[in-house]
């Protein structure tokens, strides 16, 4: 039993951050033990937004369960759906047409940019800078409009189906994405001017929340949180899926391991995503957008695992099938949960005010942690 408020026998103060706190972006509850202003322990309490998605998936068919995963990491909903579709395709041994593969990668990268945009704005707002939030949402709005036109929704699109995508690209898609990229290249310089070079921001980020490469690996961190420490873990590069082995991009690595390194990884990753989109947008092959599949999908008996790189890290989907139309068991390895577990290690010994900077650069999405 953890004491939720008051002082411990050693005279340390225990305070609660969350579950309703503007800096936690959701219902994350942190019980923090403080010695003066120095953090001695951070204990995350989870379960406030647990919807038992894994259990829900057991009663849904292989076509139906994909939409639920949009509600896990809602900022990279496309990539979550992509992981599930990949896993079903692996079990059914469905060959996805090349056009569908390119469309999927394009949508993934657009989602990644949109997710990093929101992270950039929200993190700057946590640290007290209000302007970046609106600048980030201005560009994100353009992506949302592109998504709305092709997929029919702005956040939880449910565009991926086993065997391809639900509908063909909208005729205006290429034109609008090209317009977005040319606009975006000029706007990303504004980001650096406004926030990255700012001395107040740098002083709050540099040297805060150090995570060594060894700790990043032992805590199971992935995505920008681990790449900021110099751990090479980009699934797109190490275990390429779809057409990622045909496009040129570099895995962004920073070696400092502090909050600023994780920040720079995401900023540079946005540039890489733009370059992936630039390479693919003119080379969308003709053909079907969906492979022909059976009306009722039945995975053969066995266990299937696929992983993709979401905006936050490695998402794994593990399906145990008994040969029926519904999965016997589904497990999601979500990136946010492992990244959150490193927060306690990072925060020990630093000041309470720096906790916001650490949480901001971990880019936590609470429904992804709780599921």
């Amino acid at each position: 039993m953890v004491e939720e408020l008051g002082t411990t026998t050693e005279g340390d103060l225990i305070i609660n951050v969350g579950p309703q706190h503007p800096a936690t972006h959701g219902v994350l509850h942190l019980v923090i033990t403080l010695n003066g202003e120095t953090i001695k322990k951070v204990e995350p309490h989870l379960g406030y937004i647990h919807r038992s998605i894994e259990k829900m998936c057991e009663s849904l068919t292989y076509r139906q369960f994909i939409y639920v995963t949009s509600r896990m990491d809602y900022l990279s909903a496309h990539i979550n759906n992509h992981a599930c579709a990949l896993c079903v395709e692996k079990g059914m041994q469905i060959e996805v047409p090349e056009r569908a593969q390119v469309i999927r990668v394009l949508m993934d990268e657009l989602t990644r940019i949109a997710s990093h945009e929101l992270w950039w704005g929200a993190m700057a707002m946590d640290l007290g800078a209000f302007t970046p939030f609106f600048h980030a949402f201005r560009e994100r709005e353009t992506i949302n409009d592109i998504m709305e036109e092709t997929c029919g929704a702005r956040l939880t699109m449910n565009y991926m189906v086993p065997g391809g995508v639900m509908a063909d690209l909208h005729p205006d898609f290429q034109k609008r994405v090209k317009a977005f990229i040319s606009l975006y290249r000029s706007k990303i310089k504004e980001y650096d001017e406004m926030l990255t070079g700012n001395i107040i921001f740098q002083n709050r980020m540099k040297g805060v929340g150090y995570l060594s490469p060894e700790d990043a690996i032992s805590y199971g961190c992935s995505g920008p949180a681990a790449r900021g420490s110099g751990v090479s873990c980009d699934i797109r590069k190490l275990y390429p899926y779809e057409v990622y082995n045909k496009v040129q991009f570099e895995e962004v690595l920073e070696t400092a391991g502090d909050s600023f390194a994780r920040y720079m990884v995401r900023i540079r990753e946005m540039n890489q995503s733009v370059s992936i989109i630039e390479q693919l947008i003119d080379n969308i092959p003709e053909g079907d957008y969906q492979a022909k599949t059976k009306a009722v999908l039945k995975l053969p008996k066995g266990e299937f695992y696929t992983r993709v790189e979401t905006a936050r890290g490695e998402l794994g989907v593990y399906i145990v099938s008994e040969g029926a139309t519904t999965p016997y068991r589904i497990k999601f390895r979500s990136p946010g949960f492992s990244n959150l577990s490193a927060l306690d290690h990072m925060a020990r010994g630093s000041k309470l005010g720096d906790l916001v900077a650490m949480m901001g650069t971990l880019d936590l999405v609470i429904p992804d942690i709780d599921r």
Partner: protein, 158 residues
């Protein structure tokens, strides 16, 4: 040496702040680049994308005829139990019994707009509408019957 470094740091800091402020001043003087979107009150002229998933509707033609055969493919495809198809038996002019829908009940409050029912429908009887304002005063209003009263199936749709 320490003093030179200190002064350099101070001037570097001031420069970084000025660079940021320049961007702010730029938007302060360039009003046309500021984007503020108002709530879409222009209902008549507002054009949402064709694929926008607002709610499920069943289109009827001028003779009050729809294309639904009552095959319950949408009901089976729905992950949340949003759609319930209630069927009845019509007597055709030849005296045979024919299955037809009595009611197609649609629970908007359960719907997640995943579009699976629309792509499952073999006769294109249901489509997604572009409405976006779903708030009502009473929860019961969210349960809708999609086929209009007195409607029947279009000729030639099996």
């Amino acid at each position: 040496m320490f003093l030179v470094k200190y002064i350099k740091e101070v001037f570097g800091a001031i420069k970084s702040l000025l660079v940021g402020m320049r961007r702010t001043l730029y938007y302060f003087t360039h009003h046309k680049e500021i984007i503020t979107q108002q709530y879409p009150d222009n209902r008549e002229t507002l054009k949402l994308p064709d694929r926008f998933k607002g709610e499920v509707v069943m289109p009827h033609d001028a003779n009050n005829e729809h294309r639904c055969t009552g095959c319950t493919a949408c009901e089976l495809a729905c992950p949340n139990g949003t759609i319930k198809v209630v069927t009845k038996f019509d007597i055709t002019p030849e005296g045979k019994k024919k299955k037809a829908i009595d009611k197609l009940v649609y629970h908007l409050e359960l719907c997640t707009m995943c579009n699976l029912c629309v792509i499952a429908c073999p006769s294109d009887a249901i489509v997604m509408d572009q409405t976006f304002e779903h708030s009502v005063f009473n929860r019961a209003e969210l349960t809708k019957v999609l086929n209009k009263p007195g409607s029947k199936i279009m000729d030639g749709v099996e």
